[in-house]
């Protein structure tokens, strides 16, 4: 592979880009299938979303150009503003709960303790259960009449535990469910980072008199930063776009208290057939995901490592 300097020299010699393309066609040929797949499966749907976000679609499948009409409609709607606020709380709550737990879990499963294999398997269970199934399990457990969790709380406090009736508790419930599901993937990514750290570093630190906390702070944490950012990034995008877990658990209620943007998008697209509004919400979600991606990479300095 030629360096930037060599390419610059080629240009100085008066060779155009076609010459350059012809000379190095083999690498481009290798890249072609990936490029086609990316354009086909990512670029085209994104263009399609953008196109539909500028249209108002009818039930017959015809559409009319409305420009930024859908954006204006959503921004003037208290419901959508509430949807965005709920989504940010949902994301913050999920990351705040699941990341520290996943880190602890990762330290546990990469340690030399006996029985870590069992923990590794148990910790992965939430990941393999379908979100709709786990949401229904949560709903059943929290049922005020028959749910074991609600029964225990009633037994302890003497009061009925109405998790899905109170707007704050309902939001907490969808956050707990999402954190429970996010934890395994985050743990896997972080534990991969921990496993790649050379043992010699810890041995040297021990010789220098570093304690457990010091070793964690000065070796483990900095060297797993890249894995941590990847985990946070993946879960952020996943949580922003989540619809099935939240919808199956609360249907977006009570009122619109747990109607995150993913749930709203699902309702608009597949229940109401408002493809224009659904595409506008989809575009907003993409923008939000890109914004978080840039923030994480810049803020946590991952950009320097990649």
């Amino acid at each position: 592979m030629r360096s930037t300097l060599a390419r610059s020299m080629d240009r100085q010699r008066g060779h155009g880009s076609l010459y350059w393309l012809n000379k190095y066609k083999l690498p481009f040929l290798f890249l072609l299938p990936t490029a086609v797949l990316v354009i086909g499966f990512l670029g085209w749907p994104m263009l399609s979303i953008l196109y539909f976000s500028l249209q108002k679609t009818s039930l017959q499948g015809t559409s009319t150009f409305v420009g930024l009409g859908n954006v204006r409609l959503l921004l003037n709607e208290p419901r959508f503003i509430s949807n965005l606020g709920t989504t940010l709380k949902y994301l913050g709550g999920n990351l705040g709960l699941s990341v520290p737990l996943a880190y602890l879990g990762a330290i546990l499963v990469t340690g030399k303790l006996r029985g870590t294999g069992i923990f590794r398997s148990i910790f992965l269970l939430p990941w393999i259960i379908a979100p709709v199934v786990s949401a229904i399990l949560f709903r059943t457990m929290l049922d005020p009449r028959l749910g074991p969790v609600a029964q225990v709380i009633k037994w302890l406090t003497g009061k009925e535990a109405l998790f899905l009736v109170d707007p704050d508790l309902a939001l907490l419930t969808i956050i707990l469910h999402s954190a429970w599901r996010s934890f395994p993937l985050e743990m896997l990514l972080i534990s991969a980072g921990i496993a790649s750290i050379e043992q010699e570093l810890y041995d040297a630190a021990k010789v220098d008199g570093a304690g457990a906390w010091s070793r964690f702070r000065h070796i483990t944490l900095p060297l797993t930063r890249s894995s941590l950012v990847t985990a946070i990034l993946v879960i952020t995008i996943w949580t922003l776009q989540d619809a099935e877990g939240a919808y199956s658990l609360t249907f977006g209620g009570p009122g619109y208290a747990t109607e995150v943007t993913g749930v709203r998008l699902f309702k608009e697209a597949f229940i109401y057939f408002n493809l224009g509004i659904a595409s506008t919400i989809g575009s907003a979600l993409i923008l939000l995901s890109v914004l978080f991606m840039v923030l994480y990479i810049r803020g946590l300095g991952m950009g320097e490592e990649v």
């Binding site: 017959q60 499948g61 009449r145 009736v165 209620g253 057939f273």
Partner: protein, 469 residues
């Protein structure tokens, strides 16, 4: 020579060799390709029958979209058993027609038909919901059945056309569905708990005031006087909020202006009634603000927690009898029908204020075999078959009501309930309207927000998007 070649291409057992198989496949493939590219490849009117030998008709397979998940409940299993028995009977009568069942979740089957129509995916026979008929008319995914139905006798047509569900499926001379039954709602009450509380189980409440008074008497530790559902799903609006609005003389939607009107005085009274039941009179548990309609109501009946339950559908007569033993010989209907520990009374609202619908049968517009699909529809609509359909609720055919099984006091109560029936508003944006009303009522109940302002906020939200459409 030719003979030799043929013998070379077959082995001693008379089986084809690979070479011969490939050669014949190539010829067959090329012929198929040529045939499909020919101008006549598109569906053509049937050609004249050959004179020498009658053509053997290829077996036809029709797809039946249903919503009976046997894992969901024993009731769904009973419905699936019924469907299988109908299909078996149909196949015996029509040996050339195969039937393939397709399962969809009950509240998604209509949407699936619309989406698949737009995506070019064909179905044949499907169950459909009357509330969504205006949406189906707009989307155009169902076949107009009127050319088929016009071949029915006038008597046969009148047997169905009395039903509001039949009329909901008719527009501009087009009929896109045929009802399978009547789903109406009544108030379930525990006769034994009435007796315990000193109330006469043979004289159930007839007015709203009597119902509320009974609920107050029946409410005690571990027992609620009146079970309702104010949760986040559409049933909240259909079975509770809308009938309350109708009871107070209002409506949810104006067909003239095509605007939502649920923030009217009647709407405010309806929301206030729901609020008072939970927080003022405390005869309905706060827990009914969450969960799913069937979970809340059926669990309340199952655990005995509800001494009365408002909005119990005629489709639940079977589980009330078979699962909890409150009735005897009432499903399938019989002259010996006897209420034991439970019974029903007509919802104590003004006339025409009781949501009534039914599952319907439709044919997908893209059906490749509409004639055969209609044959199945016609077969299913036979009185004998509908009589055995657990989810029919009550008879769709007027003539069936004259049977002695439906002359019992138990079924006469249901007939009276059905007569008070009213369908949902005829807007193509009905799901959005129902969800908006449910969310409004929920916000009022959980946040105790001011009723008129909250209803207005939600009404404006719906009207901003759909008014006039």
């Amino acid at each position: 020579m030719h003979k030799n070649k043929t013998s070379q291409d077959q082995n001693s057992n008379g089986k084809l060799t690979r070479r011969e198989f490939l050669r014949r496949s190539a010829v067959l493939g090329a012929s198929a390709l040529a045939a499909s590219c020919a101008p006549g490849a598109l569906p053509q009117p049937p050609a004249a029958a050959p004179t020498e030998a009658p053509a053997v008709k290829e077996p036809v397979t029709i797809k039946v979209a249903h919503y009976f998940d046997p894992l969901q409940s024993p009731a769904a299993q009973a419905n699936l058993d019924w469907l299988n028995s109908v299909v078996d009977g149909f196949k015996k009568e029509n040996p050339g027609i195969e039937v393939e069942l397709e399962y969809f979740v009950w509240d998604q089957i209509d949407n699936r038909m619309i989406l698949d129509h737009q995506a070019g995916v064909a179905h044949d026979f499907t169950f459909s919901s009357p509330q969504l008929m205006p949406k189906h008319f707009e989307a155009g995914g169902f076949l107009d059945l009127s050319p088929y139905l016009s071949q029915w006798s006038a008597e046969e047509q009148e047997d169905f056309s009395w039903s509001p569900v039949w009329n909901k499926s008719r527009r501009d001379g087009m009929q896109i569905a045929v009802p399978t039954g009547v789903h109406t709602r009544a108030v379930f009450y525990r006769r034994d708990k009435f007796e315990e509380a000193g109330l006469d189980p043979d004289k159930p409440p007839e007015t709203w005031e009597q119902c509320l008074e009974a609920a107050k008497v029946l409410t005690k530790e571990g027992q609620w006087g009146l079970g309702m559902y104010f949760g986040p799903t559409r049933a909240n609006m259909e079975i509770y909020f809308a009938p309350f609005v109708w009871h107070f003389g209002g409506d949810l939607w104006d067909p003239e202006t095509k605007q939502a009107t649920f923030a009217s005085e009647a709407g405010v009274q309806a929301a206030q009634l729901a609020y008072d039941l939970v927080f003022t009179h405390q005869v309905t548990p706060e827990a009914v603000i969450a969960g799913d309609y069937s979970e809340v109501i059926l669990n309340g009946i199952a655990t005995g927690e509800f001494a009365q339950a408002w909005g119990v559908g005629s489709y639940w007569i079977q589980p009330v009898q078979d699962n909890w033993g409150h009735l005897e010989n009432c499903f399938p209907p019989s002259v010996d029908c006897t209420p034991l520990t439970g019974d029903f009374y007509v919802t104590p609202t003004v006339p025409q204020a009781n949501f009534t619908n039914a599952w319907c049968m439709s044919i997908h517009k893209l059906s490749q075999h509409p004639d055969e699909a209609f044959k199945l529809l016609e077969y299913t609509a036979k009185a004998d078959n509908l009589f055995r359909f657990p989810d029919a609720g009550l008879p769709a055919r007027l003539s069936m009501w004259e049977a002695p099984e439906y002359q019992t006091p138990f079924y006469q109560t249901w007939l009276e309930a059905a007569r008070k029936g009213r369908p949902m508003p005829a807007t193509a944006h009905y799901p959005e309207l129902a969800d908006t009303c449910a969310a409004a009522l929920q916000e009022i109940l959980v946040q105790k927000s001011p009723i008129p302002e909250t209803l207005k906020k939600f009404e404006d939200e719906w009207n901003a998007k759909y008014a006039g459409a």
